[in-house]
Symmetry: C2
Subunit: 456 residues, 2 copies
């Protein structure tokens, strides 16, 4: 039985209600262990006979890596999905991606509604209203709603892909490729059954823009999607912030990559100006945090790699399928800088004040990952004889569950692969764990120490 | 006349008191322009005949770079101080360093006391008590006090250096080298009249430990020094935090560098275990933010360079001669993470609560420099054909006013040199500017918007 401790009103994602003081399983622990169980199950299935292409033999570390990458919707690969796995192996990966994407989207939103005690009661009511979770059976209806949205977007995406794929491949392969990539894009998974991702489609606007549409939709988060699609009378503060930051990051990313790569003959240098813009736009969309590419990442200039590292670290929006520290976290950090410059000592957006506790969490949610990603990068650098920039790129890509790669991951040492797996897992679960850590109201909290400043 | 606006009680560092609403010169502007004026004056003097060694010709950009580096107590060099300048040129550099170090130490502390309206009134009283600034003439006495401490430490340091230098060099050179390096170390300037910094003294504990003593003392800040030396009845929260973070950073830095460089034959690999520890300790002291070295920086492993980049960014403590975002800022950032993990939503140290506005400033003081340093690194990378890690190292070294160098600075393009100068200037003045930006109490501040959270 799962009992979630709650000093106020008892809540549980599985409906068990109990007023006991002690917790048998914290929800965080359930989720942490649940993800590991599903990853191991996925690895086991991928090791079964018939999952790989004839003559290919999947090592255990590579099976676990592939399963982790799929469940955490990352897309970093150690073996080529296109040629190494059989059709059935690709189906398994597709299912793992879909479960990973749906699971994350459902869990994060449910947590924000039901368990996110750090969210003000008033906000929680607003969230519950949006999702009609007040009534009995609300969780079931909500989950069905997520499924409905997901499948609608994925079906639309698959149809749009099919238009381009149908003349190019035999019909069965065209259909499978359309479905696979539509799911992979909406779930921000980045897995592709084309060996060179979408490099063959760099000049095909329909394919590229369909990818962008799916990636951005999946990354916005279910609450924003629902508010926008149902034309909710007034957008919540959350949706306004998400939309504004998303647009700004897309514009800035496109412009910067366009400028730095304009003359690079190995990336966009040979393309027409229109295709230059399209390709730069795509490479600004994909680090947040889809992981497809239409130009080879290893050919990008160092400066573009660092721009992408920044975008990968920020990632997508909460309650969606993407990773990273999230657009709202970025907004709060910049809001603090603006507040200090204006001598206001508070963070305001759209005539609303952000609660202090939300700001503190945003800071923790930035510092912890940044330190961890830096430490892991440095550890890998200490023994792995690759270019430091490329190592940093792969580690940020793993943390952000992005999946873009300079191509070094398949040949990394086993320890490095293991560390990348930990980063993928942390990128999906660690921030979630921080968000749902249950409120502890103990005696110590009642002591309010006197204030004293320090010089800065 | 300088008039500083103050809605409460009028204060001015030059003693002019006036209740006017409008500011003729903000103190920030005075300081910003003052630094530029002194830098230009220094460049002009360095260009005079007789300042360079015979046959050497100082370019204008290199004169400005050297003057900026000296006034901002950085120590990055584009020409070898030892061989390029005459004795008189070296004297000028010595004077510029001493002015830069004293000016910064005096200004930051005065600002914290007199103009730091963001500091709580109660804290300000405590500061004023520590420095006896309540009485008339307090500012003069305070400045004399800073001079007394500075010259005492520098005299002691010079004496200790002389013991080792006297047998090694002719007497006049031994005396000059002792004074020059003592001032340079206490001011955390990092300029050396030895071409290879202190690499010849890597196995001389007296010289190395004297350097460490001067660097750490200068970096602690005047308030901490005074409280410790006068055995103030109870240390202020500020001093406790500074001392704890300083010790932790020194220990962690020493240990990490010792571990990563243990077997590196180009750095500490050939030394005895005792000298390995001594050398690692020194290389943990010097990035915060002195800039001397006893082993060649370019021979360090990438991983050690990144450890040093972290230490350089943190830097020394407020009110001292060192740069960086400061130890107290790091303490507050980590305090936020701890607070969030403990569900407390406040930052506490030593049974004291840190005011919200101090925390907001700490965040702004981290994000802005980090973004700026990253952007400048990326810009330089885009055209400068050097190793990206080395470029990042030099830019962080400039921002932290550290002066450690992988050796690429003298051969950088003029634009890169200019950008490094801007970073040095920003590292010394930018954070100061943020700290003293005067409080603006306008109408807008009275609007308190309702709270609304966002998901993270
Ligand atoms: K991905
Ligand atoms: K320095």
């Amino acid at each position: 039985m799962l009992v979630i401790r709650d000093t106020g009103k008892s809540t549980s994602i599985f409906g068990s209600v109990n007023h006991e003081r002690h917790i048998m399983f914290k929800p965080a622990q359930i989720i942490l262990l649940g993800y590991i169980a599903v990853i191991l199950l996925g690895s086991f299935i991928l090791m079964l006979p018939g999952m790989t292409a004839p003559g290919k033999d999947l090592k255990f570390i590579d099976a676990v890596f592939t399963s982790t990458s799929a469940i955490c919707v990352t897309g970093l690969i150690v073996v080529d999905t296109a040629t190494f796995f059989s059709f059935w192996g690709q189906i398994v990966i597709l299912v793992l991606i879909q479960c990973g994407g749906l699971g994350y989207m459902t869990l994060t939103t449910l947590i924000a509604i039901g368990l996110g005690r750090r969210i003000e009661y008033r906000d929680r009511l607003a969230l519950k209203e949006t999702f009609s979770l007040e009534t009995p059976g609300g969780v079931v209806r909500f989950t069905l709603n997520v499924l409905k949205y997901t499948f609608t977007f994925e079906a639309l995406g698959a149809f749009l892909f099919l238009i381009s794929f149908i003349g190019r491949y035999p019909l069965p392969k065209a259909i499978f490729a359309s479905i696979f990539h539509s799911v992979s894009a909406f779930c921000n998974a980045g897995f592709s059954i084309f060996s060179n991702s979408f490099e063959d489609f760099v000049q095909n606007p329909l394919v590229v823009l369909t990818l962008c549409f799916l990636i951005i939709s999946g990354g916005l988060g279910f609450m924003v999607l629902k508010e926008v699609i149902t034309k909710h009378r007034i957008l919540s503060l959350h949706s306004k912030v998400v939309i504004r930051v998303t647009i700004l990051l897309l514009l800035a990313g496109t412009l910067l990559i366009l400028l730095t790569e304009w003359n690079n003959p190995n990336t966009i240098g040979i393309l027409s100006p229109g295709h230059k813009v399209l390709t730069s736009f795509f490479q600004a969309v994909t680090p947040r945090t889809a992981g497809f590419n239409t130009i080879p990442i290893r050919s990008l200039r160092s400066i573009s790699l660092f721009i992408m590292i920044f975008l990968m670290f920020i990632g997508a929006s909460p309650g969606g399928t993407g990773g990273g520290i999230k657009t709202t976290t970025l907004a709060l950090l910049l809001g603090i800088v603006k507040g200090v410059a204006q001598e206001k000592n508070r963070v305001e957006y759209f005539h609303r004040r952000i609660p202090n506790e939300t700001i503190y969490r945003a800071i923790a949610q930035t510092i912890l990952p940044f330190l961890l990603v830096s430490v892991v990068s440095i550890i890998i650098m200490s023994y792995q004889p690759n270019n430091p920039t490329q190592i940093i790129f792969e580690v940020f890509s793993a943390f952000g569950t992005v999946g873009l790669s300079t191509g070094i991951t398949p040949r990394l040492f086993t320890l490095s692969k293991f560390l990348l797996m930990v980063m993928m897992y942390y990128g999906k679960v660690g921030l979630l764990g921080l968000a749902i850590y249950p409120v502890k109201k103990d005696e110590k909290e009642c002591i309010l120490y006197p204030e004293e400043g320090v010089q800065l």
